[in-house]
Amino acid sequence: MIQSRSRLRMNGVHISHPHSFLSGKSLGAGENKVVIEAYPGPGALSRALLRLPKSKIRKLIILESWDRFYQYLKPLEAVDPRVTVLPIDGYTWDSYSVIEEKGLLDDVMKHDWNAGIHPELHFIAQLPHGVYGEQFFSQLFRCMPTKSWLFKYGRVPMSLVLSQPMWDRGTAPYATNARCKVSVIAEATSQLQNAVRPSELQPYDDHFHPSTSRVVSKKAESKRAGQPHVAVNVVPHQDQLIRSDQLDHWDYVLRRLFVLKSTPLKNAMNSLAPGAPTLLKVLTDPELPPEERVNINDKIKNLTIKDWALIVRAFYNWPFSPEDLTFSNAEDFGPGREG
């Protein structure tokens, strides 16, 4: 009870621009879509989606676990046969098993990873602001290398509405201060695109609910927590840089090294594991071709995705890499952790 209330306070964000997700220049553009929508809120976006013709949207599965909204969305089923509203939470992995068990995805085929994006299935979510949203966001990328979750159907495109700061961190290029673990993993796994010019989504109150300015403060729009919002499209790369059996190593290496993000790699290695500085030799081995070497004088935040791949490879091959890569791994408490 109390939890859904507080979660609501964080995630009550809702948009009404559906076309930029499914058509036109969108990476996920396509016809005859089966859309799973998480965090619909009161359903502004859902209703807008339903205004699209049947040829565009074949099926809309709405996940909303909070009763107030659920009750408000449920009547849509009666109005439009394409709609299924389920009282489950998009945040927990269980919910997607429920969708499958109900047979709602029976008519969706598995699409070969190398044959382009999935033609039908499309995931849409308005990410809640706050820690749950952040976790969900980073977990979505982590499902791609292992082709788990919806990605077992193929390269399913996603359209997300989320706060600008969250997005900035996901897309921060190397050599910027915002560069972090999420941006490295996002860059390694997927292609990202702004669905709508961010300016078109401002001012915030014209596009989102609940409108917050009257509740919260007179702060400038850019200073309010979780504002402004952006709408984006995300599609997994065909070639995944992260090997599915090395995901834990990526996690570990990125987490440990980004603690010292402005420190040169050669000085930061100690925080990877005792003895890890010996890997510096591997990374600068003169016998390797130049493109397989890493400049160990670079600061952590300045490392490119290629550098990271080389570092993780060296770490993976190191006989002394720690056996326990998950311990005290607090930030990875992602979806699936109930309650």
């Binding site: 009870m1 209330r5 609501l8 306070r9 009161p42 107030r68 909204f69 408000y72 927990t92 992995w93 269980d94 997607y96 098993s97 977990q139 499902c143 292992t146 082709k147 788990s148 979750w149 077992k152 609910h209 609940p210 409108s211 009257r214 509740v215 599915s244 440990r256 603690v259 010292l260 100690n270 925080s271 594991a273 005792p274 003895g275 010996t278 091959n317 006989p319 002394f320 720690p322 326990d324 998950t326 311990f327 005290s328 791994n329 990875d332 992602g334 979806p335 699936g336 952790r337 109930e338 309650g339």
Partner: protein, 1317 residues
Amino acid sequence: MIPLTKRSTRRLETTLVSYSRQSLPRPARLYSSPSKSAHAPAFATSVPQPEAPLPYLPPNLEREFSKTKEMATFLHERQSYTILPTPAPADSSDTNTMIFPDTALQNMVSIIEACVHNLYDVPRAKTVFEGLRRRHRCDPLLHGGLYNLLLDAYIEMASVKEVEKRSHWVEDACALFEVMENGKDKVTPTANTYAIMLRAWVLFNPSSHRLVASTVDMPTPIMLLRAMIDRQIPVALVVADRAIRTTKEASEAIKMLSKAAVDMNLGKVVNELGMAEALGSRAPDPLDNVPEATPVTRAKQQMQVTHAQDGSVTDFGVSETAVEVEHEVPFNLANLRKHLAQVILARRVLPEDVAARQKLLEESVYDVAVERLKHQAELFDEIGLTNKGLGNNDLRKWMWEWHQKLKVRLKAEIATLAVEESKLSDGRGIRLSPFLTLLKPEKLSLITILELMHLQGGAGASKVMKIARALLSVGRAVEIEYKAEMCKKNNITMPSNPARGGDHGYFSRLGYRDLHARRVAAAKYMEDAEEWTSDWSQIIRVKVGAFLVDLLMDVGTVVRTAVDRRTGETVSEEQPAFVHSYEYQRGHKLGVIKLNSIVAERIAKDTVRETLHPRHLPMLVKPKPWLGHDEGGYLYNKTSVMRYKESTEQQIYLRQASNLGNVELVYAALDVLSTTPWKINRDVFEVVLKVWNSGERFHKLPPAVYDQPEPQKPEDFDFDPKAKAIYITRQRAWYNDKANNHSDRCNVNYKVEIARTFLGDTFYLPHNVDFRGRAYPIPPHLNHIGDDLSRGLLKFGESKPLGERGLRWLKIHLSNLYGFDKASFNDRVAFVDQHLADIYDSAEKPLEGRRWWTTADDAWQCLAACIELRNALESGDPHAFESSLPVHQDGTCNGLQHYAALGGDDRGARQVNLDVTDKPSDVYTYVANMVEEQLVKDIEKGNPMAQLLSGKIARKVVKQTVMTTVYGVTFIGAREQIEKQLKDRLDIPVEECWLAANYLAKLVLHCIGDLFSAAKDIQNWLNTCARLIAKSIPPERLSDTLRPTPPSQKGRPAPEQTLYARMRKEQMTSVIWTTPLGLPIVQPYRQEKRKQIMTSLQSVFISDPNSPAMVNSQKQASAFPPNFVHSLDATHMMLTALECRTRNITFASVHDSYWTHAASVDDMSVIIRETFIGLHSSNVLQRLHEEFCERYKGYKVPLPSIRTMIPKLPRTANILQISDDKESRTLDEQAVEDLRLKAGGLPIEEEPEEVEEDQGEEEDEEEKPKKKKAKRGGKRVVSSELNLDDKFVNLTDLLPPVPKKGIFDVDRVKNSLYFFS
């Protein structure tokens, strides 16, 4: 007629040198003590047991009664408070340096001391010292000891190091001496001062061959002697002072003083010096080592010592009988000192041979460790020759290798550092090299290694050490070792503990004064004999620690081998053993030290004996009695009597109380606890060892190799995020458990190791107190406060014949340990009788048999009891069986007992067994039943949660919550406790637990509130008082508070804000009270203030306890009730300890669990009840109120700070004005009344403002109700109507009256059977 028992012999002896105590009548009770009556041969046959007795009551109760009268009188007397000014805010001009030390100054003092040490850099010390004297003259940190230290250093420079500049140094010394002598710096010369100057004369007088320039005006012996006599310093003490280095110097000094005395015609002094010579020429008395048998010796009769009121020695006299000098023994300084100590202390010093082992233990710890490591390393090298590569990974071998490298490295680095630092210009920053040269590099190296290993051993599951803590510990270890070296330097003889509390008991006025006088005399002696050392500030500790740890991380390496997964080859690599890195913890970036995983693994397996410093171990001799706030316990390792929470305020109060002689009984009680002898229970130890060596999991002993299977990776791991998440959660839990297992293993390893070491010894656990006055043993690893295993391994060092009653208590004890402790005593005895077969089986075949004992609540202790009972029953004569097993008497919900007694709460008293009942009542069961009743009502109302929980509310579910309510558990805390219990039950679906706990916590708290309404009233009263105190401002700060703040540079005055902000800053008053034993308790809760300190490793943030910040009033208020009750239970325990010592009963305690021999339980039970009654009939709360009124007299509370409390405060509040503007700043009673009415609408200050979202109106997206604004508006209205901003009220007028007492008469406790049981 006084029988000449062993005890009285001793007493006689001490009276010879004391102040005519013989003339006083002795209380008869000392000789009618029944505690030894069990020795009587008739015992087994006589002593008829009354039929329906109060089982705890010994048959001859009445005789004991008179004893408690003195205690009751003592408790009723008006206490002496220790009152000091409240610290001023850090930004005020008045910085309290007279009371609170200034950290920078403290550093400078430490630097001087370090520079003087071994004459490292005396010129620099002199420069710094002269600078300090100019700027901080008369600061308490510039201690007389420091002056003496420099004086001595100057003379040493002149005689040893800079002979060519001799005249300069002597001149400097004389100048400094004159400053001390004329009192300009408010530093008084001591015996040490005169001894130094006397020595200067001996060395450099005109007729010596070491002349100084004739321009130097040295004080002559005549001048010195005159000054000594003026200051009443006995000449014997001067010539025996540590400043006099050799026997030759001493005899020279005596000669010169004698000559001066003859010249001045002072016959008495001549006599005294003759006595000193005589003392020095006597061989040490061989009989000294046999304390109980020493007859009254002839020689001692020849001296008479006069003590001043404070116990210091003022005069010696030599009786007219001729001094009998045994000329065959040449005069010797050591002998003189030794004998003098005995004379001055008026008691025996520790016999040498008993002390020798402890001395060796504390003295040579690092040397011994080095020897052992070396030996091991050589051993491994030998094995290595034949078996290369194996057995290499031994902790000791590693440590030895690191030590070899580190000591060489340290030597070189310190030398380099010294050169670098010598180039620095003066005065800037702290130079480390003086501190690093205090100890030899060998020792520094070993300290660093051992300290880090020990920290890691204790760090447990988290596997990392926080860097600040690690650096501080290493720095501190260096400081402690240096101080220990200083203590040892002069070969001081230790004063030993008195066998019991003086001759007049603890509580009579005479007895108390006696106690005080003895302690002061001993403390003075210790102070004179030890070299004075200053305390290091945190900054110095951290910097020294960083320097050492940095180098260790550089040289400490281990070799690891592993298999390359690509090639299949075995590769090895040299890796650092310690790594410095950073981690994020709750959003904070923290520096940590990590151990290489193979090193961490070894800590759980290898012997850890080397990493234990003696200050972590029990003592082989009786601990040094507490002579002062930092003097007592271990012989050479400085220990503080109180565990401070980074609060200098606490330390200052305690020091002051100690100086005023207010805490003698606390010291005495700690001495009682510290001198209880212990032994390892060999029978239990053997079982433990067997299990430990098997490496298997057994009962609570963790296995050597973690035995739970790692969770299996699910097949759909890669595709199903849910399965993956579950797997990861389980795997994480598994790793966590594994890490916990590891730290448990380390923990037990320490205990087993220590038990093994002390297997054949009688040992002692020195005690100190936390800031509430609760006593704890100082050795952390193996002690009786520890877990079941520790307790099972310990037994008393002395035994007493059981007797019939003892046998009965042994059985009851066994039953309690098993968990059968709710029944009546007779039923518990019957329970044991029924299980005799199980008990025999457990005792005889603990591992091979049926293992009944392992099903007990406290298994190891139960095993010990089984063995003891079996041995007793099999001994042929159980009643004569010598038992040394501690038997416990536990308070039933002790916190509530105190509340019930404080409030005279009849109903509460019955619940917690203060009243007479035939069966123990159990408050936990009672509450559980109340909750069940409530559930039934809620079921009728159709509450589904009540339905779910009905019938599941066991005693266990509510126990922790009931227990902790008295210690101020919050709703959140209660909910967590209950949730955990519900989850453990397994019969409630996990997902329901949180909601169920939420519901249940409310019910439980409600029921407790009902039951202990009196307790609630008292808690509220305490809370209100504390809140008001924490908001108050001392009178001396008022004018500063109201002074208009100068407008800020931006020109924005914002007067309202700054005035309020100023007031908040000025709220520096912490809640302070005095326990009935005189201990001042200072709540340390203040805003956290941390300083950044750059070290060679990284910059660390540490708090500076010397600069107090404003109080955390929330914490002050919420913590006060529990702290207050803890201070009471601590007092009850100490009173009991003292009474037990008076009646010769062995005593130990774990807070509210009191231990003694089975045979003494009856006697102790009487004492427990008497002390409780004594404590609670002294009107504790009323006295607290009185103390507050005196302590906080004149303190004012700014009204804006207590807006929300006004409606709850008494009508009579006297609103005062203190500023010039009388019209606008006076409030009359009517205004207060208005406030009272209006305040109902005020939001509570601390309450988080909640955004009320009414979800029902969610459909209408545009319109939202804005309740909050209305609320805020309300607040403004009131404050603008009545401008409270600059009104102040007297704190003492605001304090609410003490809650009324109920009808329960605490005297009834006397007849309660199960009060403690």
